[in-house]
C-alpha cells in the first residue's frame, strides 16, 4: 500500500486575510491567502485547508472571494470550512472552487446536515470538523471557537458522523491549538481506531517529531499552521523528517 501520509497547511481566514491565534483567540495577521497557499504548494504541501473564522455575513462574502482567488492558482486539493449551515452553503463553497467542505457547529445542532451534504455532493466532499476539549473521561465536543461545551463525547460523535456520511475527520485538539505543545496523541488514536475514514490531526504541532507521532498514532494527515506562518520551518523540511522516520510521503 502506498497511499502517502499528508502534510496539510491550514490557513485561518478573516476578512480576506490569513490570521492565527492561540486557542482560537488573539488573532494576528499572517499574510495574504493566495500568496500563502502558493508558497506552501511550492514547498510540497499535499492539500490546503481554509477555515473561515469571520464572525459576520460580510466576512463570509470575503471568504467566497478568497476561495475563488486561491482556486484559480492552486493545483492541489482545497478543503474549506467555517460557518457552513446548509447544503446550499456547501454548494456555494464548492462552486467557488473548494474540493471538500467541512461542517462543525451546525452539524452538532443538526447531525442530518452531514447526510444532506454527503448525499448531494458525495461522501468524499464531506468533512466533519471537530474541536475536542480534554475532560476527565475522554474528550468533549466544543463549538463556537471553544466558547460552548456540548456534552457530546468526541469519539461517539465521530463514529456517528461517519455512519451518516462524513468522509474525513478534521480532528482539532482545542487544548493544544496554537500552543505548539504537540498533538493530542491519545485523541488521535481513540478516534482513528473507531472509523475507517481518514483522520487529520490538528492542534499543537511544533516539531517534525510531533507529525511523526501523529501519523504513528493513526492519523492519515497532519495539519500545521503556526510553525509555517511564523517561518520556523517549511513543508519540505517536515516531509523530509517524516520520510526519514520511515513514513511514506509524496516527494
Amino acid at each position: 500500500m502506498t497511499l502517502a501520509s499528508r502534510v496539510i497547511p491550514c490557513l485561518d481566514i478573516k476578512d480576506g486575510r490569513v490570521v492565527k491565534g492561540v486557542r482560537f483567540q488573539g488573532l494576528r495577521d499572517a499574510g495574504d491567502p493566495v500568496e500563502c497557499a502558493g508558497l506552501y504548494e511550492r514547498q510540497g504541501a499535499d492539500e490546503i485547508v481554509l477555515l473561515d473564522v469571520s464572525a459576520t455575513p460580510e466576512g463570509r462574502g470575503h471568504a467566497l472571494e478568497t476561495v475563488r482567488a486561491v482556486r484559480s492558482e492552486l493545483s492541489i486539493p482545497l478543503s474549506v470550512g467555517g460557518g457552513v449551515k446548509s447544503p446550499d452553503d456547501a454548494g456555494r463553497l464548492l462552486e467557488a472552487g473548494a474540493d471538500k467542505v467541512g461542517v462543525n457547529t451546525a452539524a452538532v445542532s443538526r447531525p442530518g446536515l452531514i447526510g444532506e451534504i454527503a448525499e448531494r455532493f458525495g461522501t468524499q466532499c464531506t468533512v466533519l470538523a471537530v474541536d475536542a476539549a480534554a475532560g476527565e473521561a475522554g474528550w468533549e465536543v466544543v463549538v463556537e471557537s471553544g466558547k460552548t461545551r456540548t456534552g457530546l463525547d468526541v469519539v461517539e460523535w465521530c463514529r456517528k458522523a461517519v455512519a451518516i456520511g462524513a468522509g474525513e475527520i478534521l480532528l482539532t485538539s482545542w487544548d493544544r491549538d496554537g500552543t505548539r505543545s504537540g498533538y493530542d496523541l491519545d485523541l488521535i488514536a481513540s478516534v482513528s481506531s473507531v472509523v475507517t475514514v481518514p483522520v487529520i490531526a490538528s492542534g499543537g504541532a511544533d516539531r517534525p517529531g510531533h507529525l511523526v507521532a501523529a501519523i504513528e498514532a493513526g492519523a492519515s494527515a497532519a495539519l500545521i499552521a503556526s510553525i509555517l506562518h511564523d517561518g520556523d520551518t517549511t513543508v519540505g523540511e517536515l516531509k523530509a523528517a517524516l520520510r526519514e522516520a520511515g513514513i511514506v510521503v509524496r516527494p
Binding site: M1, L3, D46, R71, L94, C125, P198, R250
Partner: protein, 201 residues
C-alpha cells in the same frame, strides 16, 4: 485552439477542473446539448457526486449516446473519477443504475483493511504503451474503483489494498480514477498532453 466542453454531471464542483484547464490555456464551455458533445474538439466528463445521480443527469440531458459515440471513435475525451466509472456497466455504489456501458466492468467498493474513501496521494504505475500517464503521484478521492483491466485499453495501475485501474486510455480518450486537476505539476503535465490532442482535433 484548446476548446473544451464540460458535461454538467451534477451540482458539485467543476471549478477545480475548469481552473486547471484554464491555467493551461483552454477555453472551457458547458455542454448544453448533445450537439455540443458531438462537435466540440474536446469533452470532459468530470467526477462529482454519486454514480446513479450523475448518470440520471446525463440521461435527462440526453447526452449518453453522444458521449458513447465520441469514446467509441477515440475522439479527445477526458473522464475524471466518477466520470471514469460512468464508462462502466454499473456500480456497487448505485445498484440498479446503468452506466454508459463503454466498458463491460462493474465498479466495486474497496475491500476491508484500507482507509475508505481513499483520500490522498498514491503512486501511479503507467501501463505499457501509455501516451498520457507518466510514473508519479496522483491525488485520489474515491471509495469505488474498477479492479480489472478492460480489453482494448492501455491501463495504468495503483495499489490500495490490491491493484486497481488508475487510468485507461484508447486513442485520444483518457479516463482517470485520480484527479489530474488536483495532482500538482504531475497532473498539469498529464492534462497538457491530453489538451494537445484537443488542439490537433
Amino acid at each position: 485552439m484548446r476548446l473544451v466542453t464540460i458535461v454538467p454531471t451534477g451540482t458539485a464542483n467543476t471549478a477545480s477542473v475548469v481552473a486547471a484547464l484554464t491555467r493551461l490555456g483552454a477555453a472551457v464551455e458547458e455542454a448544453a446539448s448533445a450537439g455540443d458533445v458531438e462537435t466540440s474538439p474536446g469533452v470532459v466528463l468530470p467526477g462529482v457526486g454519486a454514480f446513479g445521480s450523475a448518470m440520471d443527469r446525463i440521461d435527462s440531458l440526453g447526452l449518453a449516446a453522444a458521449i458513447r459515440e465520441r469514446i467509441e471513435s477515440n475522439r479527445p475525451t477526458l473522464a475524471v473519477c466518477v466520470g471514469m466509472q460512468l464508462l462502466s456497466r454499473d456500480s456497487e455504489e448505485s445498484p440498479g443504475a446503468t452506466g454508459l456501458k463503454v466498458l463491460e466492468e462493474t465498479v466495486g467498493r474497496f475491500g476491508d483493511g484500507v482507509t475508505v474513501p481513499q483520500m490522498g496521494w498514491n503512486r501511479v504505475k503507467p501501463g505499457s504503451g501509455s501516451r498520457f500517464v507518466e510514473s508519479g503521484w496522483a491525488y485520489f478521492a474515491n471509495s469505488y474503483r474498477i479492479d480489472r483491466l478492460p480489453e482494448g485499453w492501455v491501463g495504468s495501475s495503483t495499489d490500495h489494498g490490491g491493484e486497481f485501474v488508475a487510468a485507461l486510455e484508447k486513442g485520444d480518450v483518457l479516463a482517470c480514477q485520480f484527479h489530474p486537476e488536483l495532482s500538482g505539476e504531475w497532473g498539469a503535465r498529464l492534462l497538457d498532453r491530453w489538451l494537445q490532442t484537443v488542439e490537433a482535433a
